[in-house]
């Protein structure tokens, strides 16, 4: 849950990029880090706890600061989880205190079982933390759209977004920074809408 610090006028929000292994979660953070202009969003260092082969071992972490909203500095903390099945305990640790989720799916046909399994794993891990996906703002990103074996977006929608309430989804080619900022801006928008709805305005 977000931290609101009235004394320092800060709102801290945690966004976790979730999805199957090698789907492009870390690439999203790298692209955000590389392309956020310092003037518009104060970015911190990108910290990667990765194996020697550049696979995420624990998490990647990128703090960025958005514009001030009515006196509040809004700080977003972006995390990724390791996608490999064996790191499930680590994923549960990173999900703790999450405010918003970006599910990064791999568009390749042969990755569909992994996408579905990872999405179910997200639901299960949230439940183990006494959280419910329906209560958390999340968006879907269909990455690797530039590959020849990418499945149609409609098929990904059917597999991952076929629910009573559909969430926003974005096609992306993360390594070219296509769809990365659209996804990030949508999840931040959903998060701020949530906090706006929870706000109790002082009586006039």
């Amino acid at each position: 849950m977000a931290i609101i610090n009235q004394a320092t006028k800060e709102l801290q929000v945690k966004i976790v990029y979730y999805g199957p292994a090698m789907g492009g979660k870390t690439t999203n953070l790298v692209q955000v880090h590389d392309h956020v202009p310092t003037a518009a969003g104060n970015k911190g260092k990108l910290v990667s706890l990765a194996t020697s082969s550049d696979r995420t071992l624990f998490f990647d972490f990128l703090p960025i600061e958005a514009m001030t909203i009515k006196g509040f500095k809004t700080k977003f903390q972006l995390y990724t989880v390791p996608g490999q099945v064996i790191y499930n305990t680590t994923r549960q640790l990173v999900l703790r205190g999450v405010d918003g989720i970006v599910f990064v799916a791999d568009s390749q046909y042969e990755k569909m079982p992994e996408n579905v399994e990872s999405f179910q794993n997200l639901v299960d891990n949230l439940n183990s933390l006494k959280m419910n996906l329906a209560d958390i703002p999340y968006v879907l990103q269909y990455n690797k759209r530039d590959l020849p074996n990418a499945a149609p977006v409609e098929y990904l929608e059917f597999l991952l977004n076929h629910r009573a309430v559909q969430v926003p989804s974005f096609p992306a080619t993360a390594h070219k920074c296509e769809g990365v900022f659209e996804t990030l801006n949508m999840i931040t928008r959903l998060l701020l809408q949530k906090y706006l709805a929870q706000t109790v305005l002082p009586a006039a």
Partner: protein, 160 residues
């Protein structure tokens, strides 16, 4: 999962006071109060040379990972971790269900002193956080000036 919804000036003043006293007693380089989700709540120390935001996220992750290991071996008494280096050391201690105290200190200072005073500091911090938690979480934050229909205002891709 409930964590800390918001802190007001009184909370931050109290936390600052506890950290100020703790740093003076232990001669620590920095002391941080962090949420177990990785958020930085309060800090005291060398903010110019240390990236407290990142240290907070990593210290939280390290503590939680060690706690998960403790659970796997059925160890129920797990309240702190200590990494002793040649020059600098790190000590992280449980404050309550949601928060931690992380301390960076010179190794020559001795971990015993830090652990001893950390016990009292964590109790004081826990008391203040309990007060903050029981306060009305919805009051005070007004984002009404925000045009949430236009998310592009938040993050823009740098034009290269």
């Amino acid at each position: 999962m409930a964590t800390l919804p918001q802190l007001i000036e009184e909370d931050v003043r109290q936390l600052d006071e506890v950290l100020r006293g703790f740093v003076a007693q232990t001669d620590a380089i920095a002391a941080l109060v962090i949420d177990k989700g990785g958020f930085l709540l309060a800090h005291r120390g060398d903010a110019e040379n240390l990236d407290f935001t990142t240290i907070g996220a990593l210290a939280s992750g390290a503590f939680m990972a060690n706690q998960a290991i403790a659970r796997l071996v059925n160890e129920k008494n797990f309240t702190s971790i200590c990494q002793q280096g040649e020059n600098f050391s790190l000590f992280v201690m449980d404050v309550d269900e949601h928060c931690l105290l992380a301390v960076i200190f010179k190794s020559q200072s001795g971990a015993g002193v830090v652990k001893y005073y950390a016990l009292g500091a964590t109790r004081q911090i826990a008391r203040q956080l309990a007060v903050a938690r029981e306060r009305n979480p919805a009051a005070g934050l007004d984002l009404s000036a925000m045009n949430v229909a236009d998310p592009q205002e938040l993050f823009r891709k740098k034009i290269s």
